[in-house]
């Protein structure tokens, strides 16, 4: 019933707009008689044909499949690199960085919270496919398909390692970013992942100067610190990390068994190789046990505190929404606290809409931010709590392993393993034989 009402209102508005259009056309356009200039007929560029969107989806599927094959079966860094360059050219420079799986998170969230918004099938495919592949094969999307990762990987020339504590701390930002992106998308405020995409300006060869500067700075950092965006910022990477932990098949440094040669120890520029651990010291064990118990008890408190703090920031966070900004501006203008007008306030006044209505809308949005702030803060508190808990949990490891979550499946470590060389030698011999 509600939908039907909306349709009626929409049709009525369309008719009014048609009336305005007819009114505007009442006076014929100039004919430039003195110059013989012919006014070109207005043309509206058509949307990109559906077929290309399906092609994009097919290319994504093929790239993910090929990446999985190259990472898990072929184990060829060179081939992964070639595929990565292709993805950079195709999804980055050719497709201008859009649709991208990273930003698709927001479309999915918005479609959940706004029933009038429908996710295009291609966007849904771009969101889901890398996650499904991560569930089965690890982060093969990051390895050679994501253009954002590829552009950073290409400039990684002098890698330096980042201390574990710093890595772990910085990674928290990606969780906060994901939560913020979900909050802003759910409230219909903004697609912040797209707005602050640092590399899209490069792909499109145009863009906001500040974003270009941010992108350039990230690339400078990427020369020394492997893929900083992927590791510390990417909100989609958060999802991939968690699914990759559960992956059925994943990258292994050695194709056979680890001989503890330690040659691969420093081979990963992303700090994703986990070293073998010793047994838990008895003294440390009991202390950690207590700490773990306290942290588990404190987890809900931490979540509540973060949620409460974030919820309290609703006045600030809700300014991300254009309606709230407009309401605040109108209020300041009406109370004489600011001089002049803005384009938005002028346009609002021209609509003849009442201020009360605008304030009510803004108030509702602020209430959404209050509620959303609880979830945002609760999530951030949960992540911080779990990270602290993880410090108190001892994981026994006997071999050098690619971290389940952190490994970007780039394949750099393969060639450091003597067993890999043996495998390649055997393959070579077998080929020579036949």
């Amino acid at each position: 019933m509600m939908r039907f009402d909306n349709i009626i209102i929409g049709m009525a508005l369309s008719l009014i707009l048609c009336g305005v259009t007819i009114g505007a056309e009442r006076f014929p356009p100039p004919d430039f008689v003195e110059t013989d200039h012919v006014i070109p007929s207005p043309t509206v560029p058509g949307p990109r044909q559906d077929i290309y969107e399906y092609i994009d989806a097919v290319v994504l599927l093929a790239a993910l499949g090929l990446s999985s094959y190259l990472v898990l079966r072929r184990r060829s860094r060179r081939a992964i690199f070639v595929l990565m360059v292709f993805s950079l050219l195709y999804f980055g420079f050719w497709r201008k960085g859009c649709v991208c799986s990273v930003g698709a998170v927001q479309n999915i969230v918005l479609s959940i919270f706004d029933r009038d918004y429908t996710v295009p099938i291609t966007v849904a495919v771009f969101f889901l496919l890398p996650l499904v592949f991560a569930l089965f094969f690890g982060r093969v999307f990051c390895a050679a398909v994501c253009p954002l990762g590829a552009i950073q990987d290409l400039v990684l020339l002098r890698p330096i390692s980042v201390p574990n504590w710093l890595e772990s701390g910085l990674r928290l930002f990606a969780y906060v970013y994901l939560a913020a992106a979900v909050l802003f998308a759910a409230t219909g405020s903004a697609f912040v992942i797209c707005r602050y995409d640092p590399f899209v300006a490069f792909f499109r060869l145009s863009g906001n100067l500040n974003i270009l500067i941010i992108g350039a700075c990230l690339l400078v950092i990427s020369v020394f610190i492997g893929r900083p965006y992927c590791r510390f910022i990417c909100p989609y990477g958060v999802l991939l990390r968690q699914l990759s932990r559960l992956s059925k098949w994943r990258v292994t440094i050695t194709p056979d068994e680890c001989i503890q040669c330690r040659l691969c120890e420093d081979s990963c520029p992303f700090g994703a190789i986990k070293k073998p651990t010793t047994d838990w010291p008895t003294t440390e064990y009991s202390r950690s046990k207590k700490r773990l118990a306290i942290l588990i008890l404190l987890l809900p408190v931490l979540m509540f505190l973060c949620g409460w703090a974030s919820s309290g920031l609703k006045t600030v966070t809700s300014r991300m929404h254009a309606t709230v900004r407009l309401a605040e501006r109108i209020y300041l203008e009406d109370t004489g606290k600011v001089e002049g007008t803005t384009d938005a306030s002028l346009a609002f006044r021209a609509t003849g809409k009442e201020q009360k209505e605008l304030y009510a809308d803004a108030s509702n949005i602020r209430a959404e931010f209050k509620l959303g702030g609880w979830f945002f803060g609760g999530f951030v508190g949960l992540v911080i709590g779990l990270k602290l808990i993880a410090v108190s949990v001892w994981r026994k490891r006997t071999d050098y392993e690619a971290g389940r979550a952190g490994c970007l499946a780039c394949g750099r470590c393969f060639q450091y393993c003597p067993k890999e060389h043996e495998r390649l030698k055997k393959i070579k011999e077998a080929r020579a034989k036949y």
Binding site: A24, R26, P28, D31, Y196, N208, N210, I211, F224, L346
Partner: protein, 341 residues
């Protein structure tokens, strides 16, 4: 080795700081504007400032409220009564401001003129109607078609000249409404450029020299035609300065003084100015500061889309200038108070 690490550390630190600064300074709502220098601004406020020494007129009487919500044209008769076309009526006022009469119409009038025999010729969208002083309709001429937008009428001894902005043409009728000829159509052989009319403002008047004066607003000039349609000469130049006409299409309206000088009205940058019979700039009657509440700072708010906001003007035998303010729907009367140089 250490120096190398320090260098890398400093470089990364610097990149982080620059990126953070760029992020903080990022203007996502556009409130900081384009960031371009003043030289790229189209600052109408500056153009709206007029040297006070150029303004030789002052408002000499209380403004006259027309009572219309949408007024379009003004005319005076030989007794000095003021005729205003607006909404769906013509209202006739004494100079004291008293309403003398009202003629109700079936549609909205855009222009009018009062002949020497006191007949009122009214342009109503796409046709002309003639009324007597008692408000009786004497004639309704044939429609000029859907495309027609009549914006000005002038009457000479035996001719009625009608400006049709929609068809970009001037139509010459006899007083019975019979079409005699069309004036101003593009004709290379007769060296007529044609009228360029981007907005529904297209004014004309008959001067005492017997020539028809027509605004060619897109070319920012006033052209002189014979009644047979020969283009004799023109004057006017494009300029943002006070001496010229600026914008897409100006002047929007004009009137001719007893000494055959021209009073012109411009929209957008609302100015009323005087030009001598040869088209040389003489002085300013009133600028945005005098004509718009809030002055120059509100100039750009009016005339949205260049389709509205054009003032009309009329003059009487004493040289007083009657400006129809179509924004506030009032008539303002200006009298010369200073001698020009």
């Amino acid at each position: 080795m250490n120096a190398n690490r320090i260098f890398i550390g400093v470089l990364i630190g610097l990149a982080v700081v620059i990126a953070v600064v760029a992020l903080v300074l990022l203007d996502t709502t556009g409130k900081k504007g384009s960031g371009l220098g003043k030289e790229y601004l189209y600052d109408v406020k500056d153009l709206a400032k007029i040297d006070p020494n150029l303004i030789l007129y002052e408002e000499s009487a209380q403004s006259l409220s027309t009572g219309f919500t949408d007024s379009h044209g003004i005319a005076l008769d030989s007794q000095g009564s003021i005729y205003i076309a607006g909404d769906r009526a013509i209202r006739i006022f004494a100079q004291s401001g008293n309403l003398l009469d009202e003629i109700e119409l079936t549609d909205a009038p855009r222009c009018l003129t009062v002949a020497d025999d006191d007949k009122i010729y009214i342009g109503i969208t796409n046709h002309v109607e003639v009324y007597g002083q008692q408000g009786k309709r004497l004639a309704s001429w044939d429609s000029l078609g859907e495309r027609a937008v009549l914006t000005s009428i002038a009457v000479s001894k035996s001719d009625v000249l009608v400006a049709d902005a929609g068809n970009r043409i001037v139509l010459r009728y006899d007083i019975t409404g019979r079409l005699i000829n069309r004036i101003g159509a593009k004709d290379k052989e007769r060296n007529i450029p044609g009228f360029v009319i981007p907005s529904p403002y297209f004014d004309l008047a008959v001067s005492r020299d017997g020539l028809l004066r027509v605004v060619n607003p897109g070319l920012r000039r006033i052209e002189a035609y014979t009644f047979d349609g020969d283009l004799e000469f023109w004057w006017g130049k494009f300029s943002s300065a006070v001496e010229g006409f600026c914008g897409c299409c100006n002047p929007v309206n004009f009137a001719i003084l007893e000494n055959e000088s021209f009073v012109t009205c411009e929209k957008g940058l609302i100015r009323v100015k005087i030009y001598d019979p040869e088209g040389a700039f003489v002085c300013v009657v009133a600028g945005p500061e005098q004509l718009i509440e809030g002055g120059a700072s509100r100039v750009s708010e009016f005339g949205a889309g260049s389709q509205t906001g054009g003032f009309d003007v009329a003059v009487d035998a004493q040289g007083r200038i009657f400006i129809l303010d179509t924004i506030n729907n009032v008539v303002r009367i200006f009298t010369k108070v200073k001698a020009g140089q």
